[in-house]
């Protein structure tokens, strides 16, 4: 008998391919955490309101708690565990540690994935709500206001925002955007 409550999906997560059979109700966040043991992405609200579960899905940031695992079938996912290629912290991660861009660390996996997404979006010339609406051809300069606006989907109750912004700007400067 076919079980209509489950589906087979494939996910490529941090460059490793997986075949999974998941409950259709399972979110991408729970599939990562419960099925693949990748507990870096955190469940802060399960409602798309805090950003702790942020991962990169085909290069774009998504809140994995609002993404059904079946809807991510075939996607390439990067979690916080996949940010340090070859075990070497990337500049963004290193800046978070050195500048103390966190306290409890619970929002950190989401902040980091989100920041990687922000830098890529900025690199691609995407404007934000605080970008001056004057010249569609000009890439907005990534300043504090831009980083704050673009990172505002990631809540941090410890209030580490000022050092997170510093870390993101520093990483952006060091890597010319590709942090």
């Amino acid at each position: 008998m076919t079980d209509h409550t489950r589906s087979g999906i494939s996910l490529r997560v941090n460059d490793v391919s997986h075949r999974l059979s998941v409950d259709n109700r399972r979110t991408l966040l729970d599939a990562l955490r419960e099925d693949l043991g990748l507990t870096g992405p955190k469940k802060g609200c399960d409602h798309g309101q805090c950003g702790a579960c942020t991962v990169l899905c085909d290069g774009r940031r998504v809140v994995s708690c609002l993404t059904l695992a079946v809807a991510a079938d075939g996607a390439a996912v990067t979690t916080v565990e996949g940010l340090a290629a070859g075990g070497e912290l990337r500049p963004l991660q290193e800046a978070f540690v050195r500048l103390d861009g966190f306290q409890c660390g619970f929002c950190t996996p989401g902040q980091l994935c989100s920041a990687v997404g922000v830098l890529a979006e900025h690199e691609a010339g995407w404007p934000s709500a605080v970008t001056a609406d004057d010249d569609p051809e000009r890439t907005p300069e990534l300043d504090e206001a831009e980083v704050r606006e673009r990172m505002s989907g990631n809540l941090c109750r410890c209030g580490a925002y000022p050092s997170i912004v510093r870390a993101v700007l520093e990483a952006a400067a060091r890597q010319g955007g590709a942090a």
């Binding site: 992405p41 802060g44 399960d46």
Partner: protein, 717 residues
Amino acid sequence: MSPDRTVGAVGASRPRIEGGLKVTGAARYTADVPMPGLVHGQLVTATTSRGRVRDVDASTALGMPGVLGVLDHRNAPRLNPKAGNYFGPDGSLLLLQDEVVPYAGWPVALVVAETPEQARAAAAALRVTCDAEPHDLDFDMDHPAARPASTAFGPEADTGDLEAELAACAVVVEERYRTPEESHCAMEPHASTAWWEGDHLHALDANQGAFSVSEVLAALWSIDRERVHVRSEHVGGGFGGKGVCGPQMILASMASKRFGRPVRIAMTRAQVFETTSSRPRTEQLVTIGADADGRLRAVGHRAAYALSPLAEYIEACTEQAKVLYAAPAIRTRLTAVPLDVLPPASMRGPGATPGSFALESAIDEVAERLDVDPVRLRLRNQPSVAPVSGLPFSTRRLVSCVQEGARRFGWAARDRRPRSRREGPLLIGTGMATASFSAGVFPSTASITAEVDGTFTVSVGASDIGTGARTALTAVAADALGVDAGRVRLRIGDSDLGMAWGAGGSRGTTSWSFAITEAAKELRGRLGDPARPVTATVDTSALIDFQPGRERQTFSAVFAEVAVDPATGEVRVRRLLGVFAVGRVINPLLARGQVVGGMVMGLSMALHEESVRDPRTGRLANGDFAGYHIAAHADVPDVEADFVPDYEPLDPSGFNGLGEIGTAGTAAAIANAVWHATGTRQRTLPIRLDRVLEPVAAGKDTEGATEGADHAVTRGA
């Protein structure tokens, strides 16, 4: 190793020891730890604010896939009704013991299933019927049930003759201030995994003190504390909301007992809001009288807060009136109002945070009435000894904080007239406030082992909820042992490590450091003997002087600049600076993060936070992050914080706590800045758009309209 070598780990900025784990996702929080045979519990909570459970119909739920069973008040294991907390018996611990519903959000059942999805679906299929009874959430300082608060934290102030002094004053300010119910909102929802091995209870739990949680569990189950093993390696924030043995922990221990499997309960965000705890509402009446030359003659501070009849609780709003200013007459009255509310718990800077909003706003109003600079008014009224207790301060560097803050902020250039500064359409204002917060130390134990390989293992029942305790205590131990920090390995977050105070009351680091320092002293005395490993264990209970004959406090001065858009009522904080006197600073990098984080929470309190309850049901109307706004990146400027040189003589290493002082003064500084920008006093938090707009729309500076509207929104039931 030279015992006299000064290593100097204390005082140096170092990144967090666990930083690498936290930026790679490798730090495991409670709900991250895999467990063979794990099953999942889902809470079902009451939707009425007062009543009785008539029936829990589990017939559908029990037939659903993966469901192991349902616990409710009829079939749950019995707990010891005498179990309690710091204040005595605590009815909020006694979950599923009877049919009574004391508040909306009270757990009425727990569904246990093989997967989280199955548990959630079965919980949704559970039919709970309650007989609702009339509830009372009508908070008011003069509520008929109002009673004097417990004086367990010390007596009320009654110095001098308040009425006589007020009668002789040139200026008297008497104003009422209100702060709403607020939620801790640690980013990690409360979670617990529990299992039994024989008559030993094991648990992973998100809390602020594994030892005290183990004590409560031992009492609830009537077993020896040594049979309860609670671990909390990484905790995703607490702010007071995880200070007690939480419902997730109690219910997980019950379910694992019943079903014989490890049970994980990861509370939903909605449940964290409605079921864990909150900062209570307050209403405060501050009366301050001054001479024409700006000398304070009378300070009266009455404060009332809501609490639940389930457990005693103190929201000590009036403490700073006993500390901050010299005046011949000082009177405080603290009132508790029992209502059908979620039981309150300490939230970052309990008492001091709402209390400071009232007192430091009122002081600013005195400055306005006298037409003097608020910094000068504060400096003119500094006490030489504690004004109520008469005791000398062990250290009081508040004047340095104010002066240094004023210098950095550029306060001297300020035109003190309200509405005196504009930038385009925006009204710009600056404001400041001072704050104090009680400091001290509580008993703890620590063990240090000198290992064969020349390293040292330090074991202390501390918890690191984001405070940096792991890093700070490693530095403290290194200096106390006279070795490099690299040779010290710290073990924390485990109730098996012995009796210890939790991360709370701004007393975690001082309490654990004291125990570590004493253990190191003892160990150094024994290192001459070449036998390894060798261990020294110290319990500081007998070493602490609880009556030191000195007033021990930390201090701060906070300065804020806001921009107010008169068209929208939007307030944005543009600059925020705090200068702190918190004893000797262990790690400036991490300490700054702590106080900046505290100020961010204070900013959030000033402008955003408010639990709104539906008066008909008493239920939270905004129990999620879409409705309950906490400061996000875009709300927060580049907050600046620094420390004045300070040393606490009552501490063997000169330390004081700093986890809460950052929050205390911030809301008043921002509210005072909003007055300076707009000319309108904001005496009710949060400073919502409508509260800023109403006086503008009415074309006058009155609070009548604001207060009336507030009544309509929050009173009733």
